[in-house]
């Protein structure tokens, strides 16, 4: 027994004493929390930018992290439905259960797109609460940031002033960037895109891009050869300007389609850490816009894909 206790004490992280333990489901929320909480938070990120957040397993390491969390920050709106409820249940942590201050769903703080009027699995893996991939719209991100800061202030009241100040600073920085992004992105308005999975809705809405097709025949179902041919046929009449794939997604289907249609395939970081240049949220937007612009041919002929 004495050995057991000694062993357990050995495993207790020394850093977890005064700080707020934050469990972020995805890197974008870890980055947002870091901006808003600074050194006050010890943040654990459950997924990397190269992982599909739909299909994470409730691994032992995640259960252990959830047990010690003071705040859980996730996309919500059913994105993590395959693993988060089980983690909450097995963690036995009362601070982060549903409807507790320590449980924060980012997508539920803003208006969501694509709320289905009918739910049937033949349509694939649809989310009844709407599209949960909200972080690529900077306007929504600003709202989420404010709500998250309010939550931090409520949980850690002693440092409320500090969080309020950090929020102000972050909003200021972010707004400066936002007006620049709007300018740089203006020429992209009206471009047509094909996406691999329906996780670009908020970006395309913000930028005024027009999504004309998804490569997945239905959300969460990888395309078969027949699905691909059908899509190619459909698109050869109305070619998109480009194809978008997230860094964590398989590019094979998109590459094949891009090659057949002679349309550029753009692999976007999707979230913080999706490539080397996307180290935080501001960098993520900078990099995303840079990649989108770079792929645009200087003249508007539908010729070779840009280098």
């Amino acid at each position: 027994m004495r050995y057991l206790i000694a062993f357990i004490l050995l495993l207790v992280p020394a850093s977890s004493m005064a700080q707020l333990n934050v469990f972020a489901c995805e890197p974008e929320w870890a980055a947002l929390t870091a901006s808003l909480a600074g050194d006050q938070a010890d943040i654990f990120t459950a997924t990397t930018a190269l992982q599909n957040p739909h299909h994470i397993e409730a691994r032992p390491s995640l259960i252990a992290k959830m047990r010690n969390a003071d705040l859980v920050v996730c996309s919500g709106a059913e994105l993590e439905t395959g693993w988060l409820p089980l983690l909450l249940r097995t963690s036995s942590n009362p601070r982060v259960q549903l409807n507790q201050p320590g449980y924060f769903e980012a997508a539920m703080q803003v208006e969501r797109l694509d709320i289905p009027t009918q739910i049937d699995r033949s349509q694939g893996d649809v989310h009844s609460q709407g599209n949960p991939h909200v972080h690529l719209d900077p306007h929504r991100l600003l709202k989420i940031g404010a709500a998250l800061s309010a939550r931090l202030q409520a949980i850690d009241a002693a440092n409320a002033a500090l969080y309020a100040q950090r929020l102000q600073q972050w909003q200021q920085d972010f707004n400066v960037q936002l007006s620049q992004w709007q300018q740089t992105a203006a020429p992209l308005r009206g471009k047509t895109v094909v996406v691999y999975h329906d996780n670009w809705k908020y970006l395309t809405e913000w930028l005024g891009l027009q999504q004309i097709a998804t490569i997945e025949p239905r959300p969460g179902i990888p395309p078969s050869g027949a699905d691909q041919k059908r899509l190619l046929e459909k698109l050869s009449q109305t070619k998109p300007d480009f194809i978008l794939v997230a860094a964590f997604e398989d590019t094979k289907a998109a590459d094949w389609l891009g090659d057949k249609l002679q349309v550029p395939v753009i692999i976007l970081p999707f979230t913080v850490g999706g490539d080397k240049q996307s180290g935080d949220l501001i960098a993520l937007f900078n990099r995303t816009l840079q990649l989108l612009q770079k792929s645009q041919p200087t003249q508007s002929s539908s010729g070779q894909p840009a280098p």
């Binding site: 207790v12 032992p60 047990r67 601070r95 893996d125």
Partner: protein, 420 residues
Amino acid sequence: MSHSFVARASAAAFVFTACSFITDRSLQAQTGTITGNEFNPAISLILDGLYTDYHDDFALPGFQIGGEAGLPEKGFSLGHTELGISANVDDSFYGSAVLAIHEHDGQTETELEEAFVETLGLGNGFTVKGGKFFSHLGYLNSQHEHAWDFADAPLVYAALFGNHLIDEGVQARWLAPTDMYLELGAEITRGDGFPGGENDGNDGQVLFAKIGNDLTANSSWQLGVSGFRTNFLSRSGEAHAHDHGHEGEEEAEFVMNNGDVEIVGLDAVFKWAPTGNRQAQQLILQGEYFKRDENATLDFSEAGSNVVADYDGEQSGYYAQAVFRFLPAWRVGARYDWIEADNQLVELEANGIDLEEFLADTGFDNTDPITRETWMLDYSRSEFSRVRFQYSYSDLPDNRDELFLVQYTMSLGAHGAHRY
């Protein structure tokens, strides 16, 4: 006309419901959108069907067969159709029940697989569960059969637990406040689920410890050690089971009286997926070892004759398996089973048949290992459907058998996450 109106009206109702979420969840109660079904529990239905072909009846010489151990019926058959209902009861409890419906000799039987309540966020790492539940002993035992990677239980599970250790009782678990996953747990149960039996009451005890972590972003592991013990006044079973039925066989009764059982086990799992995306590619390696020690007075009776003997059994077994998802929809798997019994029997009483005849009939004194090799290929269009092909080759002391099966497993409705 009226149809599209209904569609539009329900769409409007849905958007309205959703909007009430958007504004502020605490406002929801005031907006009057509660329609009576918003508190519906999660309901899931698992459909499971089989086509099976093999030569001989199920036999495990050296083991008294109990619980659910056996083979599916030859030809077309239904496996367990599982109806599961679960929900948070309130902010402190979670409840779940799973009914298994299956066909048995042309009759439909309903059996309660699990029905339990569990604390929710009790704090300090503690969780308490009560009711009827799958014991957390071992690794596979706490999973439902549809979550297993092969269509049947490993031989060591079939032989020692009758496929699954299920019992009624209470469980307490404690999750250590460590960076690494460490969980300790204990169960006290009625002790009458096989390999237990009828007893004075609540003699079943289980202890388990699990530890696990990530190695890298690509891989994770879990190790477990567990133990089970109980006493029983009487435990019935079969010397060898026949495709879940007894028709055409002589009436034979195989009872263990005044016994005690002890089981210890080790389990290990390792999972690897490139960049941690298991839906693209994944390798799962897992294995479990169990050893059972039991003592009882054996009573075998057949057509008016019986033999009574003092029984001291020492049995052990393991399985090791590898399952690899090589394409998003396709997986292959291989499993190796090994079990062995070493039973000491001393004749106490013989009426009409003696111990030697009994042993010749049943092979209960077997000391040669039984092995089996199993190969599996499955296809999943989505995470809710699966079609599986399985072939296995068993090597018994005096017999060899092959088994081939095709199985579909489909999941309708809410389908909660599976445990690691």
